[in-house]
Amino acid sequence: MITAVRPDRRGRSGAGGGAPAAPGGAPGPGGRRRRTLDRLRRGGLPYLFLLPALVMELLVHIVPMLVGIAMSFKELTRFFISDWSGAPWAGLDNYRFVVDVNRPVGAALLQSFGITCAFTVLAVGLCWLLGAAAAILMQDPFRGRGGLRALFLTPYALPVYASVIIWAFMFQHDNGLVNHVLHDQLGLTDQPSFWLIGDNSFAALVIVSVWRTWPFAFLILMAGLQTIPRELYEASAIDGAGVWRQIRHITMPSLLPVNQVLVLVLFLWTFNDFNVPYVLFGRSAPSAGDLISVHIYQASFVTWNFGTGSAMSVLLLAFLLVVTGLYLPLTSRTRRRRGHDARVS
């Protein structure tokens, strides 16, 4: 990722197959123009290849995002949704409305934000822990390792809707598998619990989210482990290091760059997750499982006020930008310091 930033001219011209500039070409206007063209061709070709991706990126991501930002400054109520351009500008009114925590809309948004933070910390932590444990346990070859790897990756490979709707069936109060096992068979609860409404919905959400996402952590960490030279472990074993010491002093430091990106990506996915809560709970999520993405959707579609809904979205975007903007430099510095310490010692 880092090296990709530096353009390697020699490599590119080779890949582009551009002919070298005419040797010994006479200097003059014609020659200069040819040289300019030539340089343009060599330098421009990679950008030409990038162009379709760039256009799609603009169409699919950037333009809707800018439209969303513009919407957040408009009074886009039901009277204007069939003619957006006719909606009056609202200035910062939408923002004032959604951050006023003394009123129900702002208070509900704040509560949803808090729940989402707690959910994200818990889900990302568990995903990472499970992924790391499984990856380390499967670092050494053993019979059936390939099969187990494939099995572990299954939740990640299944379509979201299909797998989450099955979880919703399993979490049903009356006929669900979860209550059947916990209550009917094991007798752990006095009466069947509710998972899709009420306070347990938070736990249901964490379980499904971790189940779905941990294989990704597993996959990435497994790939990261492959890059650690075996010799390090062998040398440390000769020096008398046990498994825990190896994990602490070899595995974890070597995985730092992988973890940096993995945790960030898991954080963004989990924080923004719309599919899992929406499929699990439907349109109106119970308050204990009221994640922010569904909350914004619900707030927009209940009141048909897409201006305030967009304002909430933009605030969410700003929050994630700030978190990421702080996270990367901070973790990079730690990484560099650790690397430095390691070299010194």
Binding site: L264, W304, F306
Partner: protein, 443 residues
């Protein structure tokens, strides 16, 4: 170092953009200018969004397909049908409204008429439009009362009329020694207590279904002398009478314990299944016949009685026992086949089609001349017709109606969840939920 920082920043920015764009895109989309004038440049096809009236979306397709073929034979216009479930229909219509890309003809819940009318997405049925579909006087007056705000041309015309009835399992009543269906809520609770026990319950409730909750809230509020909207169309969700009304309904589960706690989760018509299986003995529903049949309950196994009242007999005022329920058919203003769309509305509201469709779906035709048909003289429809004629009231036709349904429906869903978890449902807890809902109503 500097390169690293730039790289980090690039990675950060790209990742955040990618991750959040999905969410913003939810509210985004390309703003096609909608509200354009209807045209006729696509005269050979129509897209029709039908609501779910049968026992499943597939069932609706089976019923409608031969009728649409008839229309194609008569006019040469091919109708592309999509049946949309109730939980999605309103959002699909909203999305179509904001993008301008929608169907030509669509079904709407009649209670949404004024809300959708306010968006300007539907073609107003003025005199000229009515003339093309056979005239305003073809329709039953009460059904026309739920087609938009008073004093404006209707945003839609009625296609199916419905009302609530009390469906009960005859076998369960016989076993419990109950000889006649309850006529007041006190009688219903008493009967419900007799019918509850051994894992079976007196009443089935669709506790997580916002629309059902809102409909019941409306009727119970009427019976307690409350209206959710004043004459100016302003909402008041948490009046003391409304609190009592909601408390009484949620109380069937929380305080009277005649409904299973598991019902708090029901949103996919599970309660109809419970009645058919005998798991619950009573159900308040509109035209449940076809759905009961699909779940294996024959017409002679259940009875239908008027929905109970507080005291006395069903009537107007505090003795309202049903909303004027029904489905309207509307023309999307952006249609590119206006003539075809109006022809299709005329076809769907013709006597012949009204008889076929309403009798199949177990509804009553809102068309005067079709109502006289003997197909609509079943005992079930007699009860529903009686309610519509004497004791049903329309939900307020105001722009905020659909918001009211969502907000009070969700508040009641949360109350049912509390009741199921064993938390007390008191005047105070109900008022708190309703006040929160009130504060979210658009100003």
């Amino acid at each position: 170092m500097r390169r690293l920082r730039i790289a980090s920043a690039t990675v950060a920015a790209t990742t955040v953009l990618l991750a959040t764009a999905t969410l913003t895109a939810c509210g985004g989309g390309t703003p096609t200018t909608a509200g354009g004038a209807p045209g006729n440049d696509k005269p050979t096809t129509l897209t029709y969004w039908a609501s779910n009236q049968g026992s499943s979306l597939e069932d609706d397709k089976r019923v409608l397909a031969p009728e649409l073929r008839k229309f194609e034979q008569q006019t040469g216009i091919k109708v592309n049908l999509e049946v949309i479930g109730w939980p999605d229909l309103l959002n699909r219509i909203l999305a179509a409204t904001s993008s301008g890309q929608g169907p030509d003809v669509l079904n709407i819940g009649n209670t949404w008429s004024a809300s959708l009318q306010a968006t300007g997405a539907l073609l107003p049925f003025d005199d000229a439009a009515f003339a093309k579909i056979g005239g305003k006087e073809r329709f039953v007056a009460s059904a026309l009362g739920s087609t938009g705000a008073a004093g404006k041309p209707p945003a839609a015309v009625p296609i199916y009329s419905l009302a609530y009835g009390l469906y009960y399992n005859k076998q369960r009543f016989k076993e419990a020694g109950i000889t006649k269906p309850p006529a007041t809520w006190a009688e219903l609770v008493a009967a419900g207590k007799k019918l509850t026990g051994d894992g079976k319950y007196g009443l089935a409730i669709e506790g997580a279904n916002n629309a059902e909750n809102a409909h019941h809230a409306f009727v119970f509020a009427k019976q307690h002398g409350a209206d959710f909207f004043d004459a100016a169309g302003k909402a008041r969700l948490d009046s003391p009478q409304a609190v009592e009304a909601v408390k009484q309904y949620v109380g069937f589960m929380a305080n009277d314990k005649i409904a299973a706690p598991g019902n708090a989760e029901y949103a996919q018509n599970e309660s109809i299944g419970d009645l058919a299986k005998g798991k619950a003995a009573m159900l308040l529903w509109q035209a449940a016949g076809r759905q009961l049949k699909a779940r294996g309950m024959k017409p002679d196994e259940y009875g239908v009685a008027p929905v109970p009242v507080q005291s006395g007999a069903p009537g107007q005022g505090a003795n309202v026992n049903s909303m004027v329920a029904g489905i309207n058919i509307a023309v999307f203003k952006n249609t590119r086949n206006l003539d075809g769309a109006l022809k299709f509305v005329r076809f769907m509201t013709s006597d012949a089609e009204q008889k076929v469709l309403n009798s199949t779906f177990g509804a009553l035709p809102p068309v005067v001349s079709a109502q006289q048909d003997p197909a609509f003289n079943t005992p079930e429809l007699a009860v529903l017709r009686g309610a519509l004629a004497t004791s049903a009231a329309p939900l307020p036709q105001v722009p905020d109606e659909s918001q009211f349904e969502e907000l009070i429906g969700t508040a009641m869903k949360d109350l049912f969840a509390d009741a199921a978890a064993g938390r007390p449902i008191t005047t105070e807890t109900v008022r708190k939920r309703l006040s929160e809902a009130q504060q979210q109503m658009p100003k």
